[in-house]
């Protein structure tokens, strides 16, 4: 018999999907693993594997979009959700991990993870920092 949390995570996940269906989640967030053929990060040609975090999480911008708070990521449950390894894959010798945030207009911005809070039982929260740094203008 599961805990109250276990029993409610699927419902919570469905509720988050409803927010997406209502059009309230305009950002899409992908975990991108970029693997290099040269055997070392940024050495040689590369291939990307993107994994989208679904349902779309809540994204709040700070500092003119140079920092983001990504929340509402459902923790792993029987048929859904995410483990920490899904969200923040283990670093490999020949691969780097970063995050692609697709805006409502379809444009992509890339970010790196600088903080991760998995203490909440109903949601994982990420803090992302821009890898494109166009400041100051």
């Amino acid at each position: 018999m599961g805990t109250v949390v276990d029993d409610n995570l699927p419902t919570l996940n469905d509720g988050r999907q409803l927010l997406v269906d209502f059009g309230l989640r305009k950002y899409r967030v992908f975990v991108r693993v970029r693997t290099y053929a040269g055997g070392e990060v940024r050495l040689g040609t590369y291939a990307d594997v993107d994994t989208e975090i679904t349902p779309r999480p809540k994204v709040v911008e700070f500092m003119n979009s140079t920092e983001l708070r990504v929340s509402g990521i459902t923790p792993d449950f029987t048929v859904g959700g995410y483990t920490l390894a899904d969200i923040n894959p283990t670093a490999l010798v020949d691969a780097e991990v970063f995050y692609v945030v697709r805006n409502a207009d379809g444009s992509d911005s890339i970010y790196e993870l600088y903080d991760l809070d998995s203490s909440g039982v109903f949601g994982i929260e990420l803090r992302l920092r821009a890898l494109d740094r166009p400041l100051p203008r």
């Binding site: 040269g38 070392e40 040609t45 780097e96």
Partner: protein, 257 residues
Amino acid sequence: MDDASSIGAQAVPLAAGTLADPTDDPTATILLAYCRHWLRYALNDRLAVQVPLAADAVPEDRVFGWNPEGTWVRDEVAPPALYIWQDGRSKMSPMCTMVRSYIERTWSLLWVFGEVQIPNGMAARAGLVNAADAALHRAFFELSHSTFSYETHPAGSSLRICLTGDPDDFNAEYLGGEVGMLSPIPGRSGRAGDSGDGRIQRSFLALKGAVITMERVGLATQTIEDDELADTTFDIRANTETLDPADLADFMSRSLT
């Protein structure tokens, strides 16, 4: 009196020019060109193989005669980039004479290359900046390169000649460089279990060096028409017994104001 002169290659007064003419420092410009040439010579063959970071150590449009200071330049002025700017005070050279004065200036040099990741992204390029530093030491020891030409001066010309055409006007020495990395903000990892100062960092390879230059100070010059005070003439007659008007040596001493 002609008050116009040049300090090194810097004309004083500045030419009026047109609105869009750059008011650059000629010394910074030649140092940028020379250092760029040597960095490309030293590194480009290797960089062309080590994709996907830049294949050109210093692209043509990535040289700047100003201090980037805290400006982060990843996008607008993307690396690789070479900056050279006057650092600190200029001063009159203590070695100057009554005839020739020189100013001595120290220049900071910053070469920023591509972004790498630590760990797992440094092994292949760990010595790249060291090689750049070594190349610049040699560049300023030789003060020329067989394929470096500048303005009207042909390839192989001495850097000392290239600034004004007169090797007495200019000299430069490389004071050395510091190998390091630049990060826009301290990097750290949010990976569960990692400490706050982090295992994964992304930083830009960089060389911070210094060059010292000596430039001759051109002074105002007197002109014959405007500054003539008096002429004193005297003759030396080479023969002693017979006056021979053709056998003379004439001298004139002109005094200027």
